[in-house]
Amino acid sequence: MQRTTHRSPLLARPVIVAMAAAVALTATSCAKSEDDASAGGKSPSAAADAGQKVASPKPGGKTCTIDAYGGEKLDLEGATVGFSQSEKEANPFRIAETQSIKDEAAKRGVKLLTANAQSQFSKQISDVQDLLAKGADLLVIAPLNSDGWDPVLQAAAAKKVPIVTIDRKINATACEDYVSFIASDFVEQGRRAADLMIEATGGKGEVAILLGAAGNNVTTERTKGFKDRVAEKAPGLKVVFEQTGDFAREKGQQVTEQLIQSKPGIKGIYAENDEMGLGAVAALKGAGKKAGDVEIVTVDGTRNAVQGIVDGWITGVVESNPRFGPLAFETLDAFTQGKEVAQDIIIEDGAYDASNAERDLGRAYH
């Protein structure tokens, strides 16, 4: 087959590469999106950084001190902090998370080294080793996986570098391999979404759940919290439909289209992230429903979803707070001064409904 087609492989390849490069260049140089056309479409960036508060620790929670962990006290100001992000900053949550760390570092006058693993675990391991080699005194890690951290933890322990993990946990011993873990409580988010749904529907009728990606702890925990709370507080509310929308808007739209077709009497939809909720809104609009016909409750707190509340399509949004910066640095600061810090720190998530959506729109991340 090749024999007959060989002509100029040496010529063709550079031509293709050059063509691709040229295309990429022109694409970005003369692009004009809708936002450019409508000047001033961007609102002033979230100046009101959602005040991040600690929801727990309870007084009895386990704590950690620098003496127990091993290491030396140091002054956070002037220290070097390494931050390893897990996924590329392509979704609102990751963008806001990295930004929050950067902002807080700048505010405190800390030298920050950052790395992004682009969703590849092997890259994250080498990222963290690089950060250590570049002289990070402290580490903040947003882990991609929970397991497989031994080589990094050993390297950090050898240098006595304290580690704080955010949003996902590392399977290791707290106060020995790492100092603290800061995250949202996903089960609690599910419970609060259930509260919003019960209030909106009066605790009666049939509701549907748009599940997140399968095999993800966020999905299982947000589902568990929602179902437990519904079973406990509103037995009249029945979950009659549970299908995955893979955390994506298009999938949420397609599944909701099937749902409203086969179950026209559905009263509410609980979407386990904002994107699927917005897909559900698109499906309802396409089916000629009006705002408020079906109560939609979502979790995350992105700007688009909160705007959806203002427009009347979404009933409520439970926030999953991505702004770990203040709390992470506060923890490191207290720890390096020799004070006690909690091993598990749960950050407080806000919530949006019709009463505060318009006022707090600037607080939502995007």
Binding site: T5, V15, M19, A20, A24, K32, A90, F241, Q243, E275
Partner: protein, 320 residues
Amino acid sequence: MAEAALRTAPPDRTRVLQWLQTYGVYAGVALLLVVNIAVTPYFLSAENFRTQAVQVAPVIIVAIGMALVIGTEGIDLSVGAVMALAASVTALYLGYGLLPALLVVAVFAAAIGLANGALVALVGVQPIVATLALMVGGRGLALVLLPQLEDLRNPGLASLGSGAVLGVPYLILVAGVLALLAAFVVRRTTFGRQLLAIGDSRPAAQLAGLPVRRVLIIVYVLCALLAAVAGVLATARLQASDPTSLGNLMELSAITAVVVGGTPLTGGRVNIAGTVAGAVLIQLLTATLIKHDLPPSWTQIAQAIVIVCAVYAARGRGKR
């Protein structure tokens, strides 16, 4: 070995297989329709059929392009990436208006198709490898151009996604017209004949003096353009450009539709009507399982069973 098994098989079994291979996909669609009418509430409504048709339209459009490529004994894995690229380019250029944006999308898609075609026809790279490269690179480019989902408010695009003529949504019209065109091209034009001849035997086509390289390049460009049309339509329907997830696994859906529809992967034959029916079959299957709220993993298992059945039915015909 397969030949030996066939020779010893009783003749009526071969005939059943042959029948299944040609009409099995239609029988499957009919069966699913009957089952659903019997057991699924609110299935028999115009609104429901409209929903299913609108959801399957992008898959049909991509699958038509895929069928043409498979007809040349090739394969195109980059269709999902081209959809994503179409989505991000649409968002980037919508500021100039809908038509200019669509033209730029066409230019981008044609460039990807050209690259695929050149790698296959001129450089002699295996289609699966050449298009794998563009599949990875295309989505990468889409994400570089537009790293994050962007909402689109263009009224023209919105009406393209949700508008209708005489009650028939644009998406269905576009898919229908493209399917008819493709069927016409394959059956009645010189280009279609050349395409099938190349799929049958490329060296023979070469020796017969057919413009093999030109036809191959055109086929890959057509496939990319069709994928771009599907990407724009899906974006219009969502009213948002989402290059991170749009078109994910679309290449597999399209290949499934083509294979289930009775087009052999060995090339030389293209069954457009079967491809459309194959896409509809998978759509109905998914819809049935979703409507009855069965676990999503079941959908994947059911799809796998359909594919195995289709390949089993096609087994005898591979030997010509």
